[in-house]
């Protein structure tokens, strides 16, 4: 099964890099049990639901209340009137169903590993930055740097997104149902990004790896971002993923544009100055 997964991801254009030099160093050992547990994770019961009104609470009080409820075993928490406050729902490292009935400010749902979060309103800059796993679904629009440096999970914005979506993306999937701004996928390293509408300038600038799918028009591509060939595997994956979130490509997934790295900047540090000039 592991072999099949690897083969499929390679066919889909993922994980094509050949590690060499310093990058071969191993930082993670699957043998060590401590690598699979978090000291601040809670065991919760998804049948237990709690809600609270956050209108008169500040960020710290709201996050503390979420933590208290998780500690009491609540697996479904509803936060009413978050009022676009910053840094809500951050650092949740366990499974949890978390609903925000309203909008979030900056850095909402950042540094999470596992929860399934739904935001009925809009999110500000850097939503779900550094997310490791789980799902975050935004029903409305998203600000800039949506999903900055995410490592895993699904991050979905059903409306329009701002600039620099998925900057430094290291894994996972980002989906934007509408249009996106400039510099999306800047320095992308892995993962997939799906923009169903139009994108701004410099799409995928300096991307090392990963794939960007665009349903609408691309204003222009950034350095080292090149068109790739849409395969059946791409279409199959897109169909499945979009259906999961009730989305669809306006002109069908087969007519989406695939953007990948030209790999001219790959192993940039190892290039001679002359080669760097050529790559740029």
């Amino acid at each position: 099964m592991a072999g099949l997964t690897t083969a499929k991801s390679t066919l889909a254009g993922m994980h094509t890099e050949k590690l060499s030099g310093r990058t071969q160093q191993r930082f993670f050992s699957p043998e060590e049990a401590e690598n699979y547990t978090y000291p601040w994770a809670y065991s919760v019961d998804f049948d237990k639901t709690a809600d609270f009104d956050a209108a008169d609470m500040d960020t710290m009080a709201i996050n503390k209340r979420i933590r208290e409820l998780m500690n009491e075993g609540y697996g479904h928490i509803v936060v009413k009137n978050p009022g676009a406050k910053h840094s809500l729902g951050v650092g949740i490292l366990n499974r949890l169903k978390l609903d925000f009935e309203g909008s979030l400010g900056y850095f909402g749902c950042g540094l999470i590993d596992g929860p399934n979060i739904r935001v009925s309103g809009r999110v500000g800059w850097s939503c779900a930055e550094n997310m490791m796993a789980g799902t975050v679904v935004i029903e409305n629009n998203a600000g800039s740097t949506f999903g900055a440096a995410i490592r895993g999970g699904d991050l979905v914005c059903k409306g329009d997104g701002g600039a620099r979506i998925g900057i430094d993306q290291k894994g996972g999937t980002i989906i934007v149902g509408g249009n996106a701004g400039a510099f999306c996928g800047f320095m992308m390293q892995r993962g997939r990004m799906v923009i169903l509408g139009n994108t701004g300038k410099n799409l995928g600038d300096s991307m090392y790896d990963g794939i960007i799918y665009v349903g609408g028009t691309i204003r222009d591509l950034g350095v080292d971002a090149v068109p790739g060939e849409m395969t059946d595997l791409d279409c199959e994956w897109l169909d499945r993923k979009l259906k999961m979130y009730g989305l669809s490509a306006p002109r069908g997934v087969k007519n989406m544009t695939k953007i990948v790295s030209g790999k001219q900047l790959w192993n940039y540090d190892n290039l001679e100055p002359v080669e760097k000039k050529i790559a740029l």
């Binding site: 406050k85 400010g105 009925s120 809009r122 500000g124 800039s144 329009d160 701002g162 701004g181 400039a182």
Partner: protein, 312 residues
């Protein structure tokens, strides 16, 4: 990092003083050094103007025992020069120990009058306009609002700023908004950095424009004023600024009957917009808009290089 905000009511007047105070107070964390307002109240008719000016900086009050007398002398000089230029002051109001609000009638060249008054040492005209009243001071929005009694200020539109001083001093002259001297009723707030400030400033100074501070935001106000002087309308001037001003910025500009916003081509500075048929609000952070809209509203980010203008 600074916080900026703007609002405009279409076709009606509202308590913009209270609304803008709530928005700016919500942005306090973005800039605690000073807070400023450009409020557009009932338009004065004919040759009638409102002038806001100061005769000292807040910090000057701690400099010696005779500062009160000095400020009184400066104010006396302002009165004398206005009289000399045939400007008839119909309302005089002392807003703070060091700042005043005058309403006057004047038929001559406004620029000459302004230049003559500002020629008095340490006197700075914050704004002159038929609708514009520019208020700025040190501290947060609540403090400035209380100090200048802005609660209940009725008008159609307003812009505001909370400042975190990065490249110039913490004083009133470096606080935003900036009035686009010598154009009545044009004001600007800005969040960002202009990297061609000195080149732009020297060029505009050669064209006869004056700068009161070393703050790069002032350049935007003077630049827009200059472009409009040369025939551009507000939107044209703003579109041109996107190409000619270098750096990362988002700014909001207001005139007697319009409000506009512009974002640089890198989209590096934030702005969130709310737009309905009769009301538009914008701010660096949504939390500011939420301070006047407790219920759910749909907001969005403008894109890189975007310029928008709304009429009252």
């Amino acid at each position: 990092m600074c916080g900026i905000a703007g609002l405009i009511h279409r076709g009606k007047k509202a308590d913009i003083g209270t609304e803008m105070t709530a928005m700016l107070q919500a942005l306090k964390h973005r800039g605690p050094d000073s807070t400023g307002y450009a409020l557009y109240g009932p338009e004065q008719k004919g040759n009638k103007f409102v002038m806001r000016f100061k005769v000292a900086e807040q910090e000057d009050l701690a400099k010696g025992f005779d500062i009160t007398d000095i400020m009184a002398e400066r104010k006396k000089s302002v009165d004398a020069r206005l009289k000399e230029m045939d400007a008839k002051v119909t309302e005089r109001e002392k807003a703070t120990e060091y700042s005043y609000r005058y309403v006057f009638t004047y038929d001559g060249d406004l620029r000459k009058l302004i230049d003559y008054v500002e020629d008095i040492d340490d006197v700075e005209i914050l704004s002159v306009g038929r609708a514009l009243e520019l208020i700025k001071d040190l501290g947060d929005a609540t403090r400035v609002s209380d100090q200048y009694q802005l609660k209940g200020f009725k008008g159609t539109h307003a812009i505001g700023h909370t400042r975190m001083a990065t490249e110039s001093d913490v004083d009133i002259r470096s606080a935003h908004p900036y009035w686009a001297y010598p154009f009545s009723d044009v004001s600007v707030v800005h969040n960002g950095q202009l990297t061609n400030y000195w080149i732009g400033r020297r060029e505009l100074e050669r064209r006869g424009h004056r700068f009161m501070s070393n703050c790069d935001s002032e350049l935007i106000a003077v630049y827009l004023a200059d472009r409009m002087d040369r025939g551009d309308d507000l939107e044209e001037a703003m579109r041109r600024s996107i190409d000619e001003l270098d750096g990362v910025f988002t700014y909001v500009v207001a005139t007697a009957d319009a409000l506009g916003m512009a974002k640089d081509t890198m989209a590096a500075k934030p702005m969130v917009l709310y737009e309905s048929k009769d009301f538009i609000a914008m701010a660096s952070e949504e939390v500011a808009i939420r301070s006047i809209f407790p219920h759910e509203i749909k907001t969005f980010d403008p894109y890189d290089g975007e310029v928008r203008v709304w009429r009252a």
